[in-house]
């Protein structure tokens, strides 16, 4: 028996809080009366908030834990806060929704928390194997979440597709880790970085990097590894879709950026070409295909693919500005996408999901607040000032320009313009037509959901008008590469 080494419990604290809350929910659910189950949502909410607060309190630390496998640094904490906010918002949106689609709340909330634990691990990991652990913890929970809408056949299909293709991608990822180990003799990021700068780059190393790109590319839904996204986003319960579109993507980018901008920073020239192509492909395929979508969840799925493309531009731009732009845009993308999915939830009702874009006809005239919020989200996703989508995109594109990738920035802007077509179509539907719209369930019956939508809308406007605080936070959080 080997005595366990000393553990830096502080570095685990946010994850531990989430895990314990998840377990508590599972146990409490066992002897809870069905009509009391809403309480579980609030327990989960408290868990997310507590973990978020702890992360904020830990701000300023810069420590390494578990023999260099986990880091407790600003980067990890920044992402922790993102994940906790996403989780808390998802819970707010789920309270009422779970009842309409008959999902068991106990498992649902617990899985949400466990998935977030995986994300927290991914953002903090400084070791490829630990990243993989986090990735799988998150993914497996999300595979299940995607299939929880048992009454909807597409939901099961979504879960199965996501799982099979995801397993595929995980295989590539592991293979990549193995090859990198073969090339450098370590799976720890700092040692790999040292090997990359001192020992030169073997073909084995490059093949390993390529495989990691495939693995990460799958999780962030970059073309051509995005193929699972539309089906999964459409089939999954809408709250889970929101969680995936924001949380999973942010987590994948957290690890992606730490590995590529930090560890492989000195090899920027070797991988920027691949990511350049991926970014352009991803934006273009996402936006062009979104043009012909009629289902709003599917449209938002393609939109999230396109946004992965913009985020990849930030990765290509690299260096300090690109990294900070990436972090900032993830926040921007998060609030506006969560809000948009919130509205999609609000428009649906029991047995009638109302997911077609045509279902939004006249919505803005009959529900002014909801319509205004959706308008804010759609315009922000397009990148219209002074909303956060604009400041975020501006930040990314100017990072690209300053790093010398003018064409990439231009293609990004071109894509934003294409995207205006399908985002603004929703707004046009909401305000320009009156007949044939759907009536929706009273919003007053769903205070939590409305709170979430309004919070997202306020954040979208506020961070766009006053961007400097969040930008400097993003800058502070991003590790200078190399």
């Amino acid at each position: 028996m080997i005595t366990p080494p000393p553990v830096n419990w502080l570095s685990l604290l946010p994850g531990l809080i989430l895990t314990v809350t998840g377990l508590l929910i599972l146990f409490w659910d066992l002897w809870m009366k069905p009509e009391e189950r809403r309480l579980l949502a609030w327990l989960g909410f408290i868990g997310f908030v507590a973990a978020g607060i702890v992360s904020v309190l830990l701000w300023g630390r810069n420590e390494s834990a578990f023999n260099g496998m986990l880091a407790l640094d600003a980067y990890a904490l920044f992402f922790n806060v993102i994940f906790c906010v996403v989780g808390a918002m998802t819970i707010l949106m789920s309270v009422h929704y779970l009842e309409t689609v008959e999902i068991q709340p106990g498992e649902y909330y617990a899985l949400l928390l466990f998935a977030t634990v995986g994300m927290v691990v991914m953002a903090a990991a400084t070791d490829l194997i630990v990243i993989f652990l986090g990735l799988e913890t998150m993914s497996i929970a999300v595979y299940v979440l995607a299939g929880m809408w048992i009454r909807r056949l597409q939901s099961s299909e979504a879960a199965l597709k996501y799982f099979l293709l995801g397993a595929f991608a995980s295989g590539f990822f592991l293979y990549g880790i193995a090859l990198l180990y073969g090339a450098t003799g370590s799976v720890q990021l700092d040692k790999i970085a040292t090997a990359a700068t001192t020992g030169g780059v073997s073909s084995l190393f490059l093949v390993g990097i390529a495989l990691l790109i495939v693995g990460f590319g799958f999780k962030v839904a970059a073309a051509p590894f995005h193929v699972w996204t539309p089906d999964v986003y459409e089939g999954a319960p809408t709250t889970v879709t929101a969680f995936m579109a924001v949380g999973v993507k942010a987590a994948a980018f957290a690890a992606f950026a730490r590995v590529f901008l930090h560890t492989f920073g000195s090899l920027h020239a070797e991988w920027e070409g691949i990511l350049w192509v991926l970014a352009v492909l991803t934006m273009t395929v996402g936006n062009i295909t979104a043009l012909v979508q009629r289902n709003i969840k599917r449209m938002l799925a393609y939109s999230s693919i396109a946004h992965a493309g913009y985020l990849l531009i930030a990765m290509v731009a690299g260096r300090d500005l690109g990294g900070a732009a990436l972090l900032y845009y993830l926040v921007a993308y998060g609030v506006m996408t969560l809000g948009a999915f919130g509205v999609v939830l609000a428009v649906g009702r029991q047995g009638e999901p109302n997911e077609e874009v045509s279902d939004y006809i006249g919505l803005g005239l009959r529900y002014p607040v909801l319509g205004a919020a959706m308008t804010v989200f759609m315009l922000s996703l397009t990148g219209v000032p002074p909303l956060v989508g604009f400041t975020g995109k501006f930040y990314i594109f100017s990072a690209a320009v300053q790093a010398g990738y003018i064409w990439l920035a231009v293609l990004g802007v071109l894509n934003s313009v294409i995207s205006a077509y399908y985002y603004i179509r929703v707004v046009v539907n909401m305000y320009m037509y009156e007949e044939g719209g759907k009536t929706i369930e009273a919003l007053s019956a769903r205070p939590a959901l409305v709170t979430a939508i309004l919070l997202a809308a306020v954040a979208t406007v506020f961070m766009g008008v006053f961007p400097s605080a969040s930008i400097s936070l993003a800058k502070e959080s991003f590790l200078p590469p190399g």
Partner: protein, 906 residues
Amino acid sequence: MSTPFLLSLLILLPILSAALPFSRLLRHAVGPLATLVPAAQVLILFILWPDVREGGQLLHAWAWLADLGLHLGLALDGLSWLFACLIAGIGVLVFFYAASYLHADPLLPRLYRLLLLFNGAMMGVVLADNLILLSVFWELTSIASFLLIGFRSQRPEACDGATKALLLTAGGGLVMLFAILAVFVQHGTFDLSTLRANQVSLSSFIGVCFLLAAFSKSAQFPFHIWLPSAMEAPTPVSAYLHAATMVKAGLYLVARLSPLFAADPLWPAATVTVGGVTLVWGGVLACKQTDLKALLAYSTVSQLGLIMSLLGLRTPTASVAALLHIVNHAAFKGALFLTAGAVEHATGTRDLHQLGGLRAAMPLTAAAALLATLSMAGLPPSGGFVSKELFYEAVLETSSWLPSVAVAASGFTFLYSLLFFHGVFFAPPRESPHAHETPVGMLLPIALLSGCALVFGLAPPVAEALIAPAVGLLSAHAAAAHLALWHGLTPAFGLSLLTVAIGGAAFLWRDALVPLLRACKAPYSFDRAYSDGVLGVNAFAVWLRTRYMTGHLTDYATYLMTVLLLALGLPLWWFYRHTAFTPDVAPVEQYEIGLALLMAIGSLGCCVFRARVPLVLSLGLVGALVSIFFVLFSAPDLALTQILVESVGLVLFLLVFRFLSPIARKPISWSKRGVQVALSVGSGLVVALVLLAANLGQIHPSVVAPFYLASSYLLAGGRNVVNVIVVDFRGYDTMGEITVFSVAALAVFAMIKLGSQGNPGPPDLSTPVLPSVILRAIARLTLHLMLLFSVYLLLRGHNAPGGGFIAGMLTAVAIILQMIAFDLRTFLQEIPWNPLRIVMTGLAIAASTGLGALCFGYPFLTSAFGHLHLPLIGEVELVTAVLFDFGVYLVVVGTTLGIIRTIAED
């Protein structure tokens, strides 16, 4: 009020008022209320006039994304002031007009909302000092224009026209954004004022990008195609956006940036040429039109070309002429568009073939339109005459070909002006029973605009006051030029007479000339090119959706594999081609080739067979062969585990198959099958390449392996390092794993039970096939032998291949054999224990072993060991770890039994 506040108010006022609840509370007052907004703008501009009159500039910037050079910078100088006056002044009239034009329309509030939005955006374009801000407002005007053109959204033509306008103008804006980024890269600022202060001169490339944006916005050839299609918009919109203001944004941009390209030869050349071509081409096309608004639209194209070429000339005269014509054109074209709207309002048509003789029914309108027409045709005493004279003067100062182009184009202008006025008011009257004089609400704006057109001619100082602050910004010496209606018998006046002669002659011969013009049709037009392009993109999107995003998992896996194989295979192949590399591999034995061939046959079987049993058997064959490879490469533990897992898995498969319906296979096309075969072969090859490449990596000395090898016996009393790691060194992990394993087993039990509730029962088993006697005999004989052997494996596991997991699997195999040989249910009833209980006991034993250590003051799971000689088995380490292993054993046996039992019970 401070001037920065007033500046921002010019933009914010309309945008914020667009959000007023017009459609609910203010439904009936929407027209007057909205008109107040441009009126207030006029007032503000009047207040600010002293600041800009003497060539001054108001500048204010609010910080936004300061570290990225993005300020909300607004600037007002003479040029901005002139354009702002147009936007606000014509805004007042158009807003006023629209209330009567659409007075009963329920969509009126929306029209005003959009007009206000446009007004704010357009103000933003002319006031922005920061180029990014400029580009944002630029695109906003395009969006507002898009929504206004598509106002009648139930008409497909309106939607198409809106889209066309948006694509071309917003696309141009994008090119401009690119130019702006290039400016930032080269000069480090987005601020126009800074660029001007530094007297920067920008490159031709940036200039071309800016010009493309300006040309597309101002409908210059060949981007002019969007303007006629934009006539689907309600007429006030056409008058406001597509004649007076938005289409002038391109002119504004050219005028604004001209000083920054002072040294660039391409800028004036391109501007003059494109402007000249547009001037003529627009005039020709205008004469062909039968629709009033289309005629006016092409006329606008032509006039914009005129101003564009004047801006390109950059002489003092040309600058004055350009600015004056901007004002004149806004007045007369605005008036004529509003007249066209009034005519349509009165008669229900805009077709020249169906109009005529309206002077009787609408005398006041006709009078007003006459003034505007004079101005458009460039006849005295209108403002148009003054600017046309200046235009001739300017072109006479320059190259040789321009004057002739100018005269020809003006001839066309004269012709279409007459065609318009004559066709509507004088031609033989047609039946238009409801024709009536224009209501006051609409007549007043027309009269005012026409009045302006007249005043600018009769009293040039009025126009001069408007343009004077701007002239100084365009060219240093132009301020001296004084405007007058009568310049004397100058060469320019001669050209004017010539124009009237040509145009008049053409009008007299119109019955021959116009049909001739209409008969000329280009085989392929820019319009066609545009629609082909749009259809192409759409077809591409549909293709992507239906052919690429098929929703079939196999297709998606195919893409992933293809990309992966290319990404890995190509570099590796390249690498092997270009390096002398001999992989350091062990010699291949013949029996290894045989085994590999067998494996290939097994894998092929998996692809070929259609029924489940042979499929599973081929899969089993592959698994068994893999375990043989484990043996060959000295991994007995792995081999044992693999072979047992294969056996148990096979049996479980066979048990489950009873419940499944036959495999339904869709026919696969040969092309798809070909791709799949290629991919499969490719994967094999690439994996082989990767494995060979792995051979390149140096062998990294392991940190942990030597430790385990050295201390396995010393610390844990076992020689089988694998087993020692599992039950001792990494005992925590194993404890966790068997717990997870047990929970998974529980889940499997539950799922099988739940799943069978709704399903029809298993196939009829009432006539069981009796297994062979030989099998039963063997089974009974081997049961005890196998159980004994499994105990042996369990006990010796610490030192030699074996251990709890393997022993557990073997026991399970023994039991399964009995099940196959004998009747399933009777056999299960013979087992006295509940499988779940076995699992739990196993877990409890494993946990208590660990806890036992705690009792003696050691950490959890510390093992103790001693040695004991047993007969036959030999020396046995009495290690507490063996007890732990026994727990593992029980968990495995219990789980397997449990799964089989639940399946069988169904």
